[in-house]
């Protein structure tokens, strides 16, 4: 009973999905659920604030930030496909562009918050709009910051020449996260700046 005759039934090309991609996909599902709850709370409380200011009075469409963030999805995609083809220089440029565009987005958010807090006087305490706005947009911005930190690590490693085409799948996992953060922004943009105004 010690051995089974070697069988040809087992597929010789036994391939399983890359674990980084699967793990990131799972994390994205879980994170989506967190964002979903914040989005539901935001929509539920639209127009329920007992005092001003209202979104229509104070919110401006963040066009430039949105364009930057959405284009950063393209640059990170280029970085991954360049690294797959072992073009480390182009990959480095793609990652650098992504970091730059993400940083511009963050700056735009910071300027918006400065305007709201300093000039308008809207804080998280002011009313339900303030509570839901800062927590939803802030949760997204936190994810952007985390993404930027990881991209910066990747960028540093790329500059030092510690990255080659074998790491393409790792960069792809990071890019999946970045695409997710961008996708969430589309939802946040529609809910907060279009539907909510």
């Amino acid at each position: 009973m010690s051995s089974i005759p070697v069988s040809t039934q087992v597929d010789p090309t036994w391939r399983l999905p890359h674990r980084g991609v699967v793990g990131m996909a799972c994390l994205i599902v879980a994170e989506s659920a967190i964002f979903l709850i914040f989005v539901v709370a935001y929509i539920y409380y639209i127009g329920k604030s007992l005092s001003g200011p209202t979104p229509a009075q104070v919110l401006e469409l963040p066009i430039l930030g949105t364009i930057c963030l959405l284009s950063s999805s393209i640059t990170v995609h280029f970085a991954v496909s360049a690294l797959r083809k072992a073009k480390v220089r182009e990959a480095t440029r793609g990652v650098a562009g992504t970091i730059l565009l993400g940083a511009i987005f963050l700056m735009m958010t910071a300027r918006e918050w400065y305007f709201l807090i300093h000039d308008v006087g809207l804080t998280i305490k002011t009313n339900l709009f303030g509570t839901t706005f800062y927590s939803l947009v802030g949760l997204h911005a936190t994810h952007v910051v985390v993404g930027l930190i990881m991209l910066t690590v990747a960028f540093t490693l790329l500059l030092r020449g510690r990255v080659n085409e074998r790491h393409a799948e790792k960069l792809e996992v990071l890019s999946l996260y970045w695409h997710f953060v961008d996708g969430v922004w589309v939802v946040v943009f529609l809910v907060v700046y279009v539907l909510g105004r």
């Binding site: 699967v22 709850i37 409380y45 007992l50 998280i124």
Partner: protein, 561 residues
């Protein structure tokens, strides 16, 4: 390697016996990334909390055993039921099942470790830290305001009771942060389990050959993603309310208390399935082995599990019928809740069909599984009763509900867990647990369980609300509560037998060998306890029961699947 190696060649005979200095052993456990050690730490940690939360239950039963009792104060009683519920769900149920998942999933799919070993260690320690933080509230909960020592807002912590004005001090914050941390740990482990099952299977282990326990851990982890995350989100909101002056659940500023209820139960109900699906997994592995038959209806079992996973996400508001959601909402949640009994019924029939015509061996693991079948059926039936909105209006927040969900948690989940302990203990320690002590454990516990939870339905029907710290004599509740308390004593005696059995068997139990139950899944092909790398050579499988194929080359499963 392209053609693979048969399973038994994968066994490595090395035995490690060298004694190491004590600090090295401690360091080894604290710094380990081995899925088996992490799994064991999860289980031991959960067992310690099981004892603590069990003692809390005993204190509550002493308080309620006779009317007008003053054994504990109302304030302490509030803390007791809050800590009991929170501990049992987050620091007993989740970690013990994840512990089994951690230990068994890689062994069952022929892998050497989880997909992300370091994430695994991180998840365990962050969950463990959450548990310690919850109990640190006994020391730190006083805070600046001198109010409260442990959380006392109930395990579902309805708003606005949790607002800073109604719950001053820091006890509620300990509760919030403990659950937040445990949620992070649970999500990390769930990511790990799904990724391990998807990406680490040995050659030939297609998804259609994966042991059902692994399938159920995958479905359970899938529910964790979409159910625990809403709770995490809600706890972030609560913290924003309490610390930054937000208004999410602040009814004075237009916030909604009902929104918290929705967010909590969007987590709370699927959580029941997170806990019960691994228990189904244990039963799926134990019943076939002790019936000497392959599981009946493997594809139906998988489909039913996935179905339960999806339907469980659309039933949460049956906890909220008394809130007044209107006829449309009520009707939807009544039907959604009743629909979930269909896949569950399929599972019960499949287990019965597995038993049918089998050569049933009544060892202790099997006895617990048979008890599970009966008790889970009753728990499901009272669940269908409570899913009918008019009946629910009558009995919501009564002891009938308490009896119902303890029937699920104790009668189904804990009972199946005991079976799992007896079944896999020899694999983990290399020694069998004592059959005699196991019988004592089984009968004491089952008698105690039925005394407690069968009779607990009655005061509920007689109108006894949950969470009251005492009651007047003469309402017809006294005798029922006394019987419930006596049942708790029997259960405690049973648990003591169990603990003694585990300790004693570790030193003096019968040597188990690789495969004491003549079982079929891959974990039984390695030595007991398995070496740190699990399999010396990656195994190759050809059917759902690789060890059956090895033992019965003349009648291999692969011919029938």
């Amino acid at each position: 390697m392209t053609n693979g190696h048969p399973v038994l060649e994968a066994i490595d005979q090395t035995v490690e016996a060298r004694r190491r200095p004590r600090m090295d052993v401690v360091y080894g456990w604290v710094s380990t990334v081995d899925h088996k050690k992490i799994g064991l730490m999860y289980i031991v940690y959960a067992l310690i909390f099981l004892v603590i939360a069990g003692l809390q239950a005993m204190l509550m039963r002493i308080q309620l055993a006779v009317p007008n009792n003053h054994f504990v104060s109302p304030q302490v009683f509030n803390r007791l039921f809050t800590m009991h519920g929170t501990t049992m769900v987050f620091f007993v149920g989740m970690p013990i099942l994840f512990g089994f998942g951690n230990y068994l999933v890689p062994l069952m799919i022929g892998a050497r470790d989880m997909a992300f070993p370091r994430l695994n260690a991180f998840s365990f320690w962050i969950s463990a830290f959450g548990g310690f933080l919850l109990y640190f509230s006994h020391l730190g909960g006083d805070g600046l305001y001198g109010a409260g020592s442990a959380p006392d807002v109930g395990w579902f912590a309805y708003a606005p009771l949790t607002a800073k004005v109604f719950s001053p001090g820091h006890s509620t914050d300990y509760w919030t942060l403990a659950i937040l941390l445990s949620g992070i740990g649970s999500t990390g482990t769930a990511v790990n389990i799904v990724t391990t099952a998807m990406c680490m299977r040995c050659r030939g282990m297609r998804l259609s050959r994966m042991p059902l326990f692994v399938w159920l851990m995958v479905v359970s982890s899938g529910i964790v993603f979409v159910a625990v995350s809403p709770l995490t989100a809600a706890q972030i909101m609560l913290t924003i309310d309490r610390y930054l002056g937000g208004h999410f659940f602040d009814t004075q500023a237009g916030g909604s208390a009902v929104l918290w209820m929705h967010f909590f139960w969007i987590f709370g109900h699927p959580e029941v399935y997170v806990l019960v699906l691994p228990a189904f997994g244990f039963v799926n592995e134990i019943i076939p082995v002790f019936s000497r038959k392959a599981i009946f209806g493997y594809p139906a079992m998988v489909a039913a599990s996935v179905g339960i996973g999806f339907i469980s996400l659309s039933v949460w508001a049956h906890h909220m019928f008394t809130v007044g959601m209107g006829p449309a909402g009520n009707t939807f949640f009544v039907f959604a809740t009743m629909v979930i009994s269909v896949p569950t019924g399929i599972k019960i029939f499949n287990w019965l069909a597995t038993l049918w015509g089998g050569k049933i061996i009544f060892k202790v693991p099997m006895m617990f599984c048979i008890a599970f079948l009966f008790q889970f059926l009753v728990a499901g039936l009272t669940g269908i009763m409570l899913s009918a909105a008019p009946f629910n209006w009558q009995l919501s927040a009564s002891y009938f509900v308490v009896a119902h969900f303890h029937y699920v948690l104790v009668g189904a989940i804990l009972t199946a867990l005991f079976g799992a302990f007896y079944y896999w203990y020899p694999k983990v320690t290399g020694r069998l647990m004592s059959e005699g002590l196991g019988q004592w454990h089984f009968w004491l516990f089952i008698v105690g369980f039925h005394l407690t939870f069968d009779f607990m339905h009655v005061p509920g029907l007689l109108g006894m609300p949950r969470r009251i710290y005492t009651y007047e004599a003469g309402r017809g509740w006294e005798w029922w509560n006394l019987i419930v308390g006596i049942g708790a004593l029997f259960q405690t005696a049973g648990i003591l037998c169990f603990v003694w059995n585990m300790v004693r068997s570790y030193y003096r139990g019968e040597i188990a060998g690789h495969d004491p139950w003549d079982a079929w899944t891959l974990e039984w092909s390695t030595p007991s306890p398995p070496p740190s790398y699990n399999f010396a050579v990656e195994p190759t499988v050809f059917s759902r029961r690789p060890l059956w194929d090895l033992k019965h080359p003349e009648d291999q499963d692969v011919n029938y699947e």
